[in-house]
């Protein structure tokens, strides 16, 4: 099976290896439910930690959008590359990065995946080919195209997954990148997380043509929309797109329609959205949706849920404790990594 990425499998293995937990084989759906819940609970704890001033700076949460990271990452192999945005906790966790690496980073500690140099918006993991963590809207797209160019020139079979929001579709870099990728038939998949708002500006107030897939298609690539609130729909679309790109037919574009339940960043007054609209989208929360579905199918019990929550809570507590205890990067190392260090091997 190539459908389960190794990093994700690693994360899964951690749970499975825990005595007493792995009582029976898990279905893919069950794992996806657990992965989404894991992201949700993690971010909820981030809110608390932010309020307690443990986390500072900008903190962008993907609560409500968890189906996308979980679904997309499942469609990738270890050797594929991921280029993400500043709302990337979910992507990072689903790609297999540990909570400890993320929380350490948000705490500004040495144990963080970027040694405290990046923070919430700049999560990186070379081992998992996770290229960040880009906080310039649209800025990651040309890089993803270049990564895909390298894959193509090196003759690999790898694909680059490029995630970005609807706001990036207004950036010139989207259009330059889409054109270049299509022109050169590069193996890149553009995953547009359309949560209807570019910060506080709604899609309709920002785009003359709000059918984003239609616009992407104009560059000569396959493009279609999918329900970003349904993890099964996401994973299905992502697999199709990734296989298409891997086949050498060039880039494709998937518009994943989703919604964030919380503000753009922490303590955003959220005056630009109708409360009713938020409530309406909450009814489509991907986690309860999948939960109900699995219950209905008889493959999920209350005990399972309790167990999932307990596992996640333990993982979070452990990560928080680790991050608290972790040393800070020495100030003496402030200027490290401005240029490469000779001893460093990649």
């Amino acid at each position: 099976m190539t459908t389960t990425a190794k990093p994700a499998k690693n994360a899964t293995t951690t749970h499975r290896s825990r005595p007493g937990v792995d009582r029976r084989p898990r279905t893919t759906e069950f794992e996806m439910l657990r992965d989404m819940t894991r992201i949700r609970r993690f971010e909820e704890r981030c809110v608390e930690l932010y309020s307690a001033t443990k986390i500072r700076g900008f903190l962008h949460l993907c609560i409500g959008e968890e189906a996308i990271p979980v679904g997309v990452m499942r469609a990738l192999t270890d050797d594929d590359a991921v280029v993400s945005t500043y709302r990337e906790h979910g992507h990072a966790l689903a790609r297999g990065m540990t909570m400890g690496a993320l929380l350490g980073e948000m705490f500004g500690k040495q144990s963080g995946c970027s040694g405290g140099r990046g923070g919430s918006m700049h999560l990186f993991d070379a081992a998992r080919r996770f290229y960040g963590g880009n906080a310039i809207v649209g800025g990651g797209l040309p890089v993803a195209v270049g990564l895909a160019l390298a894959e193509k020139m090196r003759g690999t079979n790898n694909v680059v997954a490029c995630l970005f929001g609807d706001g990036a579709m207004a950036e010139g870099e989207f259009h330059e990148s889409a054109n270049l990728a299509a022109l050169w038939h590069l193996p890149v998949v553009f995953f547009c997380e359309n949560n209807l708002y570019a910060m506080g500006t709604s899609l309709a107030r920002e785009h003359a043509q709000t059918d984003l897939a239609l616009r992407a298609a104009s560059y000569g690539m396959v493009a279609w929309p999918a329900d970003g609130m349904d993890v099964l729909a996401v994973v299905d679309a992502a697999r199709r797109a990734v296989e298409l790109a891997r086949s050498g037919s060039g880039p494709c574009f998937v518009e994943l329609r989703t919604y964030r339940f919380r503000a753009h960043s922490m303590y955003d007054p959220d005056r630009y959205r109708d409360k009713a609209e938020i409530e309406q989208w909450r009814h489509r929360d991907p986690i309860p949706a999948l939960t109900e579905k699995l219950r209905a199918a008889g493959v999920l019990s209350d005990d399972d849920l309790t167990e999932i929550e307990a596992e996640i809570l333990t993982e979070i507590d452990k990560a928080v404790a680790e991050a608290e205890a972790a040393p800070e990067e020495p100030v003496g190392d402030l200027t490290r990594f401005v240029t490469s260090e000779p001893r460093r091997e990649q």
């Binding site: 590359a81 990186f124 963590g133 890089v143 160019l149 270049l180």
Partner: protein
Amino acid sequence: MTAQATAQVELTYREAMREAMREAMTRDERVFLMGEDVGRYGGCFAVSMGLLEEFGPERVRDTPLSESGFVGAGIGAALGGMRPIVEIMTVNFSLLALDQILNNAATLLHMSNGQFNVPLVIRMTTGAGRQLAAQHSHSLEGWYAHIPGLRILAPATIADARGMLWPALEDPDPVLIFEHGTLYNVSGPPPDPSISVDITSAAVRRAGRDVTIVTYGGTLSKALDAADELSAGGVEAEVIDLRVLRPLDDATLLESVTRTHRVVIVDEGWRSGSLSAEISARLVEHAFYDLDAPIERVCSAEVPMPYALHLEQAALPQQADVVAAVMRTVDSRA
């Protein structure tokens, strides 16, 4: 090839750069060239003429007019294991890619705690003197020299044009090479390929005891001419070619200035907030007690570069300006 045919006699700066690219692509399969019209057209300034035929369209890639897109793609390709050479037609156009150069190329290594380095080389034309007016003629390399994480090169000689590219490609981090537009047709004897060229130090192009003229790129020849003129009047100017605009070779500058005690900085960039300002500040910081006269700067007039020849020349640093500035540092009332 044309360049090979003439290599035994004289080499132009353009040919030297082309030779350097040819050598790099021959030596390392990961090296490829991309940019606007680098392939079929042969390069806006004909630098890459013939390379498409030699290396094919995969490795000599014409790009659409999307500076941010193809510079970002260069970054991505570098991250992905390639060694791209990205050509941008002029420094003015590079501003369209400034986001990629600053926010990604220069930043990724640090932001990722050393996980992702960007072994990318970006070449571009800079400078005025060809009546290309205000959107093709500026000298903005000083801006780039402001950015930590980048190495900024300004080859001013045939030897440097020929020799700087390879070490730039070997650098694990992004390197920007600024080629002054007036240099392409300058010719000289082909450099000895056995002499390695570094991308770390400034070069003393002319020794002198009375004043240090600091310059780089397109103004080097003006500075050298000025030094000759001054020599006839009894003033021996030392001329330093910075070569590397970032990181600056402070040691060479300080060594010279502590001997001559007088400094004239010639920089085709605008004076305000310029590279010349940075050098001036460093010399004041580190050689204050060795300065025997105020530091003089010869920069471009603070106007967008005009088209008309006489206006353009009036806006640019000239030999006479350099001579006058030197004289202000060594002149006395008596």
